[in-house]
Amino acid sequence: MNVRRDVFQAIVDPTRRAILLLVASQAMTAGAIAANFDTARPTVSKHLQILTECELLEQEQKGREIYYNINAKKMKEVADFIEPFRQMWDDRFNKLESIMKNYKTT
């Protein structure tokens, strides 16, 4: 599996980007993070799971609570700036291709 691409898929989602932004300033518990969103708690948990799986977030046990920290090293890797640009064009061209395939049949 291409781990690097998974990271980009992870940050494509606006809620997940918002979570990264939140956690960037301080480590937070899942509950504290969820309190910032209108989204249902299980949805936020799912986002946290994805972000943790692609190592953008790190978990840290503090007493009974698990805190989420941003993984600065991984974030820096993501900042390889051409990939999001390429992804943007790839999405557009994929769309173009599927739209024009319909033209073909009609």
């Binding site: 606006p14 291709e97 024009m100």
Partner: protein
């Protein structure tokens, strides 16, 4: 899925080359560039004007989900040859980025496949790099704005 769209950007050059092969006859690929309602669909932008002729111009306008215009784009077509090439300028309005020059070359591979070469030239290497970074930066900005909205909302709720 394999990565079909390739970007070639050399470190110290003020240009990039975007290439992509399509499972489409070159005529359909070209059509996707000249029909306003099709451009709107795949570019995700509103087409205000699209004059497919030498010295013709075009204008795009992108809005956020609330309908606020977030970006206006425009350019002039220098040369257009059906199913072969479009040479045009492209500019994002109200941004610090100056106009760029785009050479779009449409290539027939087989009857059913085609290739697009998009050669883009920027004013400087610095401008090129900034524009390449936009999709990432915008993503973070959008997330930040949304977060700000949520936080503002929360504060208002507390006041009530």
């Amino acid at each position: 899925m394999e990565r079909k769209t390739k970007i070639n950007a050399l470190d110290d050059k003020q240009e990039i080359l975007i290439t992509r092969e399509f499972d489409l006859p070159v005529e359909l690929l070209f059509k996707a560039y000249i029909e306003a309602e099709i451009v709107e669909q795949w570019m995700g932008t509103k087409v205000l004007k699209l004059e497919n002729k030498k010295h013709g111009s075009y204008q795009f306008e992108t809005s956020d989900p609330k309908g606020n215009v977030v970006l206006k784009m425009n350019g002039v077509i220098h040369e257009i040859i059906s199913n072969q090439k479009i040479t045009r300028t492209f500019e994002m309005e109200n941004t610090p980025f100056e106009v760029q020059l785009e050479f779009l070359q449409f290539e027939k591979l087989t009857d059913e496949t085609s290739k697009l070469n998009m050669h883009v030239i920027y004013k400087s290497v610095a401008v090129r790099d900034q524009i390449l970074k936009l999709p990432f930066a915008q993503g973070i900005n959008m997330a930040h704005n949304r977060l700000q909205d949520i936080l503002n909302q929360k504060t208002t709720n507390h006041d009530n």
